[in-house]
């Protein structure tokens, strides 16, 4: 049997099964009116004739007033034989179907499709097959990766918060209350964002301590260490800018104190203070500035520095311990 014939046969059979099943179910399940509804004379109650559509065939032909059996017999024979023919056809098609050649699994086919066009596997092969020594799986080598993990968590939860947060002094506080009280899972997202920030800072320091103790900052890894310090600064800056956003008393005055300290640096202090605050005082300008830093500039800087950091680690490898 060729492919086309099989397809057509299958389609016709499936449609027939569908129609036959529908007809049978309808015929056998349409309900007559409940309870005895004939009067003592065998008549339906006044005003209550069984509606033809709701009365089963069985009702009249077998237990009712019709005595003609040929019509129902012919019906049963024709539809019955058709049904048997259907069943035969289905079983035959199924066995033909099962004998077909197995298709290659979908993931493999997708991979082949992409490789035909972009030769991606070739490109990825050295990266993915790189051998990782056993000692690199000790727990202290996970700290950098965990810092990155928390950064990703922050990016995701931060974006979700940004959907509802309003960065003006008039609306910031209320928008965070809205997030916590009205938004579905808002309080969950916010608390995760808050604690992942702390976790990221701790992991960054822990990672730095590990690298320092193992002396993995020494040549040839100097630039990598500098990239790391940039990342540490960015992480702390994230914390500092993010802290102001709720615009509550703690946030406002913590930022005041922080920027005052920056202002105490000689020579560049005053300029730094005005640059950070967008003026002499903390105002709506400060909030906008901190928000832009927090969601645009710092993420960009961090991603670029992380890219450099990861590329350098990949290229130079993890320093072998003693």
């Amino acid at each position: 049997m060729n492919h086309t014939f099989r397809t057509i046969l299958l389609t016709v059979l499936l449609i027939s099964i569908g129609l036959f099943s529908a007809a049978s179910v309808h015929a056998l399940t349409a309900q007559p009116p409940a309870g005895g509804n004939l009067s003592s004379q065998g008549e339906p109650p006044a005003g209550m004739t069984p509606e033809p559509q709701k009365d089963t065939c069985i009702h009249c032909h077998v237990s009712g007033s019709f005595s003609n059996i040929w019509v129902p017999t012919l019906r049963w024979l024709t539809f019955g034989s058709a049904g048997l023919l259907l069943l035969f056809g289905v079983t035959r098609s199924a066995s033909v179907w099962r004998q077909r050649e197995a298709w290659t699994p979908l993931p493999q086919r997708v991979k082949a499709w992409i490789d035909e066009r972009y030769q991606l596997s070739e490109f990825l092969e050295p990266i993915l097959s790189k051998p990782v020594p056993e000692w690199q799986q000790r727990w202290w080598y996970c700290l950098g990766g965990l810092t990155f993990f928390f950064f990703v968590v922050q990016a995701v939860t931060g974006t979700m918060l940004a959907f509802y947060y309003k960065p003006t002094p008039q609306e910031a506080y209320a928008s965070i209350q809205f997030i916590e009280n009205e938004v579905l899972f808002g309080s969950a997202v916010r608390i995760i964002h808050h604690w992942s920030a702390n976790a990221m800072i701790i992991m960054a320091f822990a990672h730095m301590a590990r690298v320092f103790i193992m002396g993995a900052y020494k040549p040839p890894r100097e630039l990598n260490w500098i990239a790391g310090v940039i990342l540490l600064t960015a992480t702390l800056a994230f914390g500092f800018t993010g802290y102001l956003l709720p615009w509550d008393q703690r946030a406002y005055w913590a930022t005041t104190v922080g920027t005052d300290i920056a202002g105490a640096i000689p020579v560049i202090g005053e300029l730094s203070l005005i640059f950070l605050r967008g003026g002499w005082n903390i105002t709506a300008v400060t909030l906008s500035r901190f928000y832009a830093l927090h969601i645009m500039i710092l993420p960009l800087v961090t991603v670029l520095a992380m890219l450099m950091h990861f590329l350098m680690v990949r290229r130079q490898g993890i320093m072998k311990p003693l």
């Binding site: 990266i127 993915l128 097959s129 051998p131 990782v132 020594p133 056993e134 000692w135 799986q137 996970c142 990766g145 993990f149 968590v153 002094p169 506080y173 209350q177 009280n181 899972f185 309080s187 969950a188 997202v189 916010r190 608390i191 995760i192 604690w195 992942s196 800072i201 301590a209 002396g215 900052y217 020494k218 040549p219 890894r221 100097e222 260490w225 500098i226 940039i230 702390l236 914390g239 500092f240 802290y243 709720p246 615009w247 509550d248 008393q249 703690r250 946030a251 406002y252 913590a254 104190v257 300290i261 920056a262 105490a264 640096i265 000689p266 130079q316 490898g317 320093m319 072998k320 003693l322």
Partner: protein
Amino acid sequence: MAEEKNQETKTVPFYPDHITYEAKVALGFGVLLVALGVWGLFNPLGLGPPADPMDTPAHAKPEWYFLFLYQLLKFIPETIGATAPVLGLIALAFLPFLDRKQQKTTRAMLIRGGITLLVTLLLVALSVWGEVS
């Protein structure tokens, strides 16, 4: 430059073995975060009173990761107290150019471990002090 792999070092391929290992670690922490989120559904973080530029609260202080600095500034004059951390950060960045000795001795590692421990304890102590004062 690439790490040497001698005969005795067992290795696993990056994909799928090492990536799966890292994914499991990340998943573990992810589960913790989800648990935290669920807890947060019933105990939200909340906010303090809204910002009031006219009303300075008695105990204004920065977030916990800056507390050590804040506490330090209370007894170091302002100018030095503000510049020292910045200079410290720059010195930290240039550490590889200050310490170039290549020998990887256990002694050197222990010394660095000791320094790290001391500095950590100092920072923690200052932070706690900053929090309670």
